[in-house]
């Protein structure tokens, strides 16, 4: 019967990582090299702290998006859910006079999960295409926030929450590392474990790769989707609260509008827009890469008016590299097939 010998290029492929993690690391190293050449003074430990800081919220948001993208969907409502959950939590805390540092994060996650039910109903219940469902829910959630919860900038948070936002885990080269990095890292690691090691996680990949096959294998597709959208809602709510705590104020107009950037980070990190692929490690690299670029433009002395264009070029490079490697993979498949026939 057929014999498949492992060819050498197969091992090289492994080095690149299934989601091109290796390539991403390469690009990040290249950017650092550029900074070292053009602005050596700024390449300091503090810079890493800054990048960490600006990655935290996007990372938390990206985790939920990753779940949905792996399952074969796309989500444009998560920023609306995030800011709805966080802002209404702050409003609620002020109105009942609650002052606590931990509860608001839980409350925001719960509100996010409840909002996630809207997406779950539309996607798992009504079988709407995910882009349509989340376009609709984005409008509903954002409109409800501004119409019914509030539309004013809240400049000071309840003090315990403000303290959490200001609390430093450590200081690297004069730049603070917020304690909020810890829960986000824990969530990321937890999600990575769930995705790799649990049946639920593998079911998400299975559904993303071949939904009908998943159903035939006995996976409860609707149930898994329901959990995904609720979990993504909870992650978004939590991320919204991290954002609010970090910036020290609550504005209902923030976050919405950044969804495409987060999706770009997830995809640059190797998640396939067609579903069934992606990893937490890859997403972390994607988020860091985008943060690094945004944080390097000033350092590299790129004139302010050119910042957006440069970010566009880098996103283009990122998605092009992922596309090329996917092409190579499908070519490899024919090479392997020919190895069999020879």
């Amino acid at each position: 019967m057929s014999v498949l010998t492992r060819t050498p290029q197969f091992h090289i492929a492994r080095l690149r990582g299934r989601n091109n993690e290796g390539v991403l690391l390469g690009i990040i190293a290249l950017l650092l090299l550029l900074i070292a050449m053009f602005s050596p003074g700024t390449l300091s430990p503090a810079m890493f702290a800054d990048i960490l800081r600006s990655s935290v919220v996007n990372m938390a948001l990206a985790l939920g998006v990753l779940l949905i993208i792996i399952s074969g969907g796309i989500d444009v409502s998560f920023t609306a859910i995030a800011i709805f959950a966080a802002y209404s939590t702050v409003v609620l805390m002020r109105s009942i006079g609650l002052d606590n540092g931990i509860l608001p994060f839980l409350a925001a996650a719960v509100i996010g999960a409840l909002l996630g039910i809207i997406n779950a109903v539309l996607v798992a219940g009504f079988k709407l295409q995910t882009l349509i469902a989340t376009l609709g829910s984005q409008g509903i959630v954002r409109g409800a926030l501004l119409a019914f919860v509030g539309s004013v900038y809240i400049s000071s948070l309840p003090s315990a929450l403000a303290q959490i936002g200001d609390a430093r885990l450590t200081t690297i080269g004069g730049s603070a590392v917020s304690v909020l990095v810890i829960p986000v890292i824990l969530l990321a690691v937890g999600l990575a474990v769930v995705l790799r090691k649990t049946m639920f996680g593998r079911s998400i990949y299975a559904i993303g790769g071949a939904p009908e096959s998943a159903r035939r294998a006995g996976i409860r597709v609707g149930r898994v989707q329901t959990v995904i959208y609720i979990a993504a809602g909870a992650l978004s709510g939590f991320a919204g609260m991290v954002h609010v705590a970090l910036v020290g104020h609550a504005s209902p107009f923030e976050l919405v509008g950044t969804e495409l950037t987060v999706i770009a980070a997830v995809v640059i990190g190797g998640a396939s827009d067609a579903g069934g692929r992606g990893s937490v490690q890859g997403v972390a690299l994607g988020v860091v890469l985008l943060a690094l670029i945004q944080n390097s433009l000033v350092r590299l002395g790129v004139p302010g008016f050119w910042h957006t264009a440069v970010v566009g070029v880098v996103i283009l490079l990122g998605v092009a590299i992922q596309a090329q490697s996917r092409r190579r993979r499908s070519k490899r498949s024919t090479i392997l097939e020919s190895a069999v026939t020879a």
Binding site: I74, V76, V121, L122, A124, G125, F126, K127, L128, Q129, L131, I132, A133, L135, G136, S137, Q138, G139, I140, V141, R142, G143, A144, L145, L146, A147, S151, R215, G218, R220, V221, G222, R223, T226, L260, I263, A264, V267, D273, A274, P303, F305, W306, H307, T308, A309, V310, V311, G312, V313, I315, L316, G318, V319, A320, Q322, A323, Q324, R326, R327
Partner: protein
Amino acid sequence: MSSASTVAPSFLARVRRTLDAAGHTGNLGLLLAGVIIVFSLLNPSIFASPLNLQSIAYAVPEIALLALAIAVTMSSGGIDLSIVATANLSALGAASVSIALMAGGVPGDAAAATGIAVALTVGVGCGLINGLLVAKLRIAPILATLATMTLFSGFAVAVTRGTPLYGLPDAILALGVQTVAIIPVSFWLLILAVVVIWAVMNRTGLGLRIILVGASPEAADYTGIRRSRVLLSTYALSGAIAALAGILMSARSASATAEYGSSYLLLAITIAVLGGTNPLGGRAPIVGVGVAAIVLQAISSGFNGLHISPYIYQILQGLILVVVLVVEVRRGRLTKWITRMMSRPPADGAALAASTGAATPLKEQPTPKPLTQGSHEHD
């Protein structure tokens, strides 16, 4: 017995049949009629007034054109997120060239014509860049155009240093304010564009190829359709439509800037989908998209007229999108889903018992009752 009672049902039946034939677009037409009736009742003196209808007609063309650009790319199985950026870049091209020409003494109309040609060229150019990325580099359209969206608008900001360009030729400005037979010129242009785009998609080889590529790229390859050429044309067409939208946008705002219309992107997608476009490709309901644009604009306008918060309108817009598609997808799904979610997964070893609802051993009851459909695994 008058004949009226017999005529009515057959007339209604005929209406029904015509609407069925029109399908989704027909339903949208009904929705539009409903919207107009409701707002005319709520705000009798104003909503149906010519001035207000004119106001709607002024607002529709640019967003409808952007939605058409989305619809065209969606029907090929892709999407173009860079339409707004393309529109702005095209408008800037038109503005800078025509302003420079007029400064050099060229008559306004000639400058305007040249400017429009430049805009279309820029639009097609942007579209070709997208097309190359999608067709040659095989980047997923949503990602390729996400990147070019950022690139094009970044480029526009950089070259203009953020400042708007004023002083467009009168011929272009007229597109934004003039009317012919009460109806704004820009709306006439939209009607013309809908007819042309409809004809391209339904009456030309290119349109048929675009739809077939959207229906199945692999089958298209095996059919001898040059897919990359078709995709290049698709995105070029989308770029040209976006450029037209850009010209109307600059006519309506009397200027060209790098960041006009940022709120239009998601709205254009919403309109395209509401109009009946399948995001997975293979369908190009051009007229439906035009009607959907009018429906949403009429509601928005009705809300503004009643001083209802724009945020309520945003909720309603989301609801309309979702409800219209849910109703089409089928009713009854929700209750099924809820029962399934409420039911506990069967315990170990009891899988069959749970899956059979009220399972009965064969020996004890030879004629089993019809079993209730409840806790079934069936998506």
